[in-house]
Amino acid sequence: MSLFFAYVSVLFALMSALTALTASKQKEVANLSRSALQHWPALQFKAENLFCESGYAVRHRNFLFILLGFSGLFAVLAGTTTLLSGSITTDILPLGLPWLNWHIRIDPLSGFFLCVLGLPLMAVSLYGSGYVREYEHGKHSMAALGLFTGLFVAGMEMVLLADDAFIFMIAWELMSVASYFLVVFQHHHSANRHAGFLYLLMAEIGAIAIILAFGVVAGFGNGLTFTAMRSAELSATWASIAFILGLIGFGMKAGLMPLHAWLPEAHPVAPPHISALMSGVMLKIAVYGFIRFSFDLLNQFLWQWGVLVLILGCTTAVLGILYALQQTNLKRLLAYSSVENIGIIFTALGLSLIFFSSGMSELGTLGLIAALLHCLNHALFKSLLFMVAGIIWHKIHDHNLENLGGLIHRMPKTAVFFLVGVLSISALPPFNGFVSEWLIFQTALQAGSLDSGVLRSLIPSASAVLALTSALAATCFVKFYGVAFLGLPRTHHAAHANEIDHQGMVTGPAFLSACCLLFGIFPTPLINAMGNLTQQLTGFQLTNISSLGWLWLTPVSQNTAAYAPLYVLAGSMAVGGLCYHFLYRRTGLNPRKAEPWDCGFGGLNAHMQYTSGAFSMPIRRIFQPVFDIKESLEVQHEGPASTRVKSIRYQFQAPDPVWSKLYDPITLAVNRLARFAGIIQTGNIRTYLGYSFFTLIFLLWVIS
């Protein structure tokens, strides 16, 4: 049943891709429908005004996104039915190599990630049709945008359904190529082209690493299907080689620290509804790949793997958020925060690997559930944040944080959605971000029961780094919200922005904000639903997760830790309501509008506010060695002996140091190597004859 839903969702995505091709072909479609429907005049009449000239573009665009929405809906349906029933259905499609047809399988793990894919996809489909109007009169073809969006979604869904290495890789790279074309959609900017090239190059190298990882496991198993791979017995060294290759491949796609350089380049340049999908969902597909490979296919765990993943996760998290803090471009900030959240997810996975390797499967399962929950939460609030960034661009056409300000007065609805997004990503209690981060801390806190002293000291320091990350995340997003939405508008555009008129662009973010709040308040039913997943994947189920009733969350046991989100919300609402009632009713004094006090200075203007650079200056000073900051101050003097200062211009850049330490040296080495190899093509025929002659002599010498 669930496999049927999954197939329908993939078909909807492909249909939306194909119908996109008819974007600019209104006349052909019209007379095609006219000729096809002669016998049914009623239908013909209906088709006539459907495909008539005027509203064709708008209807076509909405139809595309409705198809995508249905694809998301069916994905969620497929996911929930598999999760709840815990059933595993497999199928073989007659495509692929003669002896290796496509094996399809849907199990609770892929079901869960289908939900992670479906929810944001539904929101994006509502939002997208509104936003895409912006590209209507641009010079880039809408057909390409629609086609590759459909392929991108279909690719992601097929990755989740793949059950052998061949179809997995096809779907995986279809996803990469389709998203490459979306990143390079507005290819008249050179930044887009550069980002696209880097993105596809790293996707290619990552994919090859994954193929090699599958190759190792398939080498010991007796085939390329996942079932054959599961039965492969690998020696510890070969399993570690496969694991490291898998970590490189999937880590590159997810954005782990040294291999993340493409993410802050590619996400900002893609259209916002696409970067919402890329950031929210595609990174989770990479996490799904990693979990499928290391938890499902390699059926052995070594603690060294867990420590490696833990350290990588922590460094990614803390460096990701530190770089996010220094960004002034909205979408680059969100892209870096995706790197940070991926770091958090991999930290949780590292913890669970450590626990599994030392035999404590109960805690390992808790760590895994924490990681999966954080995947879902991040997919929700990151898509929400990207969509709001898209709205800001749509209204103000400016991504620079320094030029915004005071948007809350002119865009109240967007401000509320963004506030919900900010509160959930900063992991504050009533929202979903807090639940998953709290679970990760609970897993870390159980480190005491490990027996190796090294791990028992490593895990607390890692979780201290995590605490620092979540605090810095709160700083970063409070700065984002404060500078963008509060205070006085810093530019003319910001001053004259107006609220979103398109219905879809409001319902999309609203749906996601509701999901964030809902999963924040009722996490226990969600975790119970994941019971089948962990039972099937690791053989364990969190039994006493709801020992105090479904309103409470007690991960390990009743008295180690408990959290009742509903009580928290109800309590704070009650106290707030009581205070408001007593204070307001009793005095009856409603507030008087006046000039802000500002210690008596008065005469406020927008330039006196704290800019985003100023806000993050203390952090930049404290964590100085981590960045390579380029600051420049130009002061123009004038007047006698140039004493008076005419204008001061302060320039500040925080490039990602990974470029100067890792990527530039590699490109330099490749160019030097290529120049060295170029020498053999001298152009002189006698040297070429010499090559052939000496090869012959050398081979003859080798032979005899």
């Binding site: 900063s426 504050l428 979780s463 979540s470 408990a562 009742a564 106290v575 000073r621």
Partner: protein, 317 residues
């Protein structure tokens, strides 16, 4: 019945907070041989502010008037969770220490947003410094919680207190370090002297005050009250976790009475220590706070390591 008792305890908690602030003020003035205002002066300030008409600055959005209520609500809720007089109250199961840190983060976030809402330089400066200090303080806070969780095998406050109470007076080096770390973090979080001067309005030095510069009337009262509750919260945390003796284990009136008396004495002693430190130390430059907090972090890490090396006594299998 236990729910009623929990409610009453929370009310007691809220009511006693200004008293603690007044008591600290009195001890400080006495140390600086100044004549101190009466211990109940904070109550009078709050009452006076309630009757004043609040001023709403022009550029403020809905966040400005809503922030005080959210800050006050989350602080009151965290007060409900921390066991003041008795343990095993039903509210103690609503959340554990990490959720407590989450509440503090929630209230701090809304305070910062309110500070930036007006668009004045001071609001932004206060917000930026507050967030920086709190993000540096959080790792050491969590490390202290970690040390506790490792020994008591729980992060639930009342369970931890029960554990420490039942094992009697055991001199644990990890607890000593954790206590030191927690005290330094308390000073940073509640904005006391070495990190931030609560009393001053000198533009360049204030952090907490800068954010609530624009508040007036009942909003200012709520925020002042919330910060006093927060100060008392930290005091109660330190007192009950590290010195839980005398806390009521059951709900009999006798043990409750003893509990109240013991907690009052402990808080008074802590207030004297805090006042002493405020009088002796001067406010540090903002970029010296980072060494201060890294020292706090070092203490907590030492606490955790000493637990693993010295106390765990786990023999290698």
């Amino acid at each position: 019945m236990s729910w009623l008792l929990a409610f009453l305890e929370t009310l007691l908690f809220i009511a006693a907070a200004p008293l603690l602030a007044g008591w600290i003020k009195r001890v400080k003035c006495r140390l600086q041989n100044r004549k101190s205002p009466s211990v109940f002066q904070p109550y009078r300030n709050l009452l006076k502010l309630y009757d004043k008409q609040p001023i709403l600055p022009h550029p403020a959005s809905w966040i400005f008037p809503a922030a005080p209520y959210i800050v006050f609500a989350s602080t009151v809720l965290s007060a409900a969770i921390v066991p003041l007089v008795a343990v095993n109250l039903p509210t103690a199961h609503i959340a554990d220490m990490i959720v407590l840190v989450g509440f503090f983060a929630l209230s701090r976030t809304f305070l910062v947003l309110a500070g930036m809402d007006i668009g004045t330089a001071f609001g932004g400066m206060g917000a930026s410094r507050e967030m920086t200090i709190s993000s540096l303080a959080e790792p050491s806070m969590l490390m202290a919680v970690f040390t506790l969780a490792m020994t008591a095998h729980t992060t639930n406050l009342s369970e931890a207190i029960n554990y420490v109470h039942d094992t009697g007076l055991v001199l644990r080096p990890s607890y000593v370090f954790a206590l030191g770390g927690l005290m330094m973090v308390t000073v940073a979080e509640t904005g006391r002297v070495p990190v931030d001067n609560p009393a001053t309005h000198l533009e360049l030095t204030m952090i907490h005050e800068a954010m609530i510069l624009e508040y007036s009337g009942r909003w200012l009262a709520l925020i002042e009250w919330a910060s006093q509750i927060k100060l008392m919260l930290y005091g109660v945390l330190i007192a009950n976790i590290f010195f839980p003796w005398g806390i009521a284990q059951d709900f009999s009136p006798a043990s409750l009475g003893l509990g109240i008396v013991m907690i009052a004495i402990k808080l008074a002693i802590l207030a004297v220590i805090l006042a002493l430190s405020e009088v002796v130390l001067a406010k540090m430059r903002i970029f010296r706070v980072q060494e201060y907090l890294s020292f706090a972090y070092l203490l907590s890490v030492l606490g955790m390591l000493s637990h693993i090396i010295l106390e765990a006594a786990r023999v290698y299998r």
